[in-house]
């Protein structure tokens, strides 16, 4: 769109990209703390689900330990999915989301800030909780550190790719199932490398390659997802 060369009534220079990022970061952080119960839901879910697995399998620690990496990663996937449903919902309903897309110059900066907070409160928080959760699943102590590493490297991809699916479905009243159908296939590579790394490490194999793959997927998601999210939001806001 061309901008006619008229001096607007109260125009200042464009806000710095860093300022825009910081403003959005602060806003998301405050909003997350004000809705703390909602924010903590996925973490509570992770703990409950892991406890149920431990109870369901019973005392057979070895059987559980062999599958612990896969169980942990699947539950992290599902917990992330829970957070995605709410990612854009409130902002969509109150109209701030359309303002963000319209006014943000460039719009991917506030989107990135929003996703950063979202990741800190889901992926990063689950990474921190991973040792405790892993112990509930009888994961050997020597792979707990690696489990954290796989989550740290892989969870950004979950938030970023999932956000694209969330942005596509936010305009639908009951988008929950569709969101899962769209997001879960995107999560599959991360799941394979994440869970695979843990089970290989338990077998004594070097897993540097798997960690690099997880990082690569996350970096790819970081470069592509913000733009895909904006395109998807524009479709949802149409």
């Amino acid at each position: 769109m061309s901008r006619p060369p008229l001096p607007p009534p109260s125009q200042t220079g464009p806000v710095g990209v860093a300022g825009l990022f910081a403003a959005q970061l602060g806003r998301e952080w405050v909003a997350s703390l004000r809705t703390l119960a909602e924010t903590l839901n996925p973490l509570v879910f992770l703990f409950l689900a892991v406890t149920l697995f431990a109870l369901g399998v019973g005392g057979d620690a070895e059987a559980l330990a062999n599958q612990a990496g896969a169980i942990l990663w699947v539950l992290v996937l599902l917990a992330t999915l829970l957070t995605l449903e709410a990612l854009f919902r409130r902002d969509y309903d109150d109209g701030t989301l359309e303002q963000l897309v319209l006014l943000g110059k460039p719009a991917f900066v506030p989107i990135l800030a929003k996703l950063a907070v979202q990741w800190a409160l889901s992926g990063l928080a689950m990474t921190v909780l991973a040792p405790a959760v892993g112990m509930l699943l009888f994961l050997p102590a020597e792979v707990l550190g690696l489990t954290m590493l796989t989550l740290l490297a892989g969870s950004p991809a979950l938030t970023l790719l999932g956000a694209v699916a969330a942005a596509l479905t936010v305009g639908l009243r009951r988008g929950g199932v569709l969101l899962a159908l769209l997001a879960l296939p995107l999560f599959v590579p991360t799941l394979i490398f994440g869970a695979g790394a843990i089970s290989l490490a338990m077998a004594g194999v070097d897993v540097t390659g798997q960690l690099y793959w997880l990082l690569a997927i996350s970096v790819l998601a970081l470069t592509v997802a913000p733009f895909a999210v904006i395109a998807a939001l524009r479709i949802s806001l149409e």
Binding site: S2, P8, Q11, P14, D91, G95, E238
Partner: protein
């Protein structure tokens, strides 16, 4: 999208050329041609479903499915959804807008302008619909864009609030801004240009003073 006439002495803030939009195989409006210059108010009228909101969303670039060309200056949009986050305070909401728009965050001044001084630290979900609407209007008082696109700005406001909208619009026009306002109630500004959208029908050609 076509560029505006850069060479003319006063560049229009909004230029439509043969703008049309179809929805469900039916023309909502077509062949709209108009230049909106600084200081001008365009009032969009027409019955429910005549395409007023859709036209505004076309202007915003949120509805890509249209024919013709348009050129739009930097604009502020106030839609059906107030754009006020219920979990944030009035001041937090406005500071966020100031950052998005790149204008100084004169939160106290903007709130005082809309009669909400003292509500800086009140979380918006504890406010009434009309009060939230006033917080949304405070966005306009923050300034920052020459063109305002308002969709039913008088909704949920009491008489004083409606007078406030009129005053804000009049001030903006006097300062050299332009306003497009979709409304059922006239804003009561004598110089307003009107564009009537009819359900399914061709719109009254615009560009002429009423």
């Amino acid at each position: 999208m076509a560029g505006a006439g850069q060479g003319s002495p006063v560049a229009p803030l909004l230029r439509l050329d043969g703008l049309g939009c179809q929805r469900d195989e039916r023309w909502l409006f077509r062949d709209l041609t108009l230049d909106l210059n600084p200081g001008e108010l365009l009032q969009l009228e027409g019955p429910n479903g005549s395409g007023k909101s859709t036209l505004l969303r076309v202007l915003l670039g949120l509805y890509p499915d249209f024919t013709g060309t348009l050129s739009v200056a930097e604009c502020l949009y106030l839609g059906h959804r107030p754009g006020v986050s219920a979990v944030l305070t009035a001041a937090e909401n406005l500071r966020w807008y100031a950052a998005l728009q790149g204008v100084p965050a004169d939160v106290a001044g903007a709130l005082e302008r809309v009669g909400m001084a003292g509500y800086e630290n009140v979380v918006c979900q504890h406010m009434s619909a009309g009060q939230q609407r006033r917080i949304a209007l405070a966005r306009l008082a923050l300034g920052g864009a020459p063109l305002w696109l308002l969709d039913e700005p008088l909704t949920a406001l009491d008489t004083a609030g409606q007078d406030l909208v009129r005053a804000l619009v009049a001030e903006h026009l006097a300062a050299g801004g332009a306003v497009v306002c979709a409304t059922h109630q006239p804003l009561g500004i004598a110089t307003a240009r009107r564009m009537v959208l009819g359900a399914g029908a061709r719109a009254v050609p615009a560009g002429a003073e009423p």
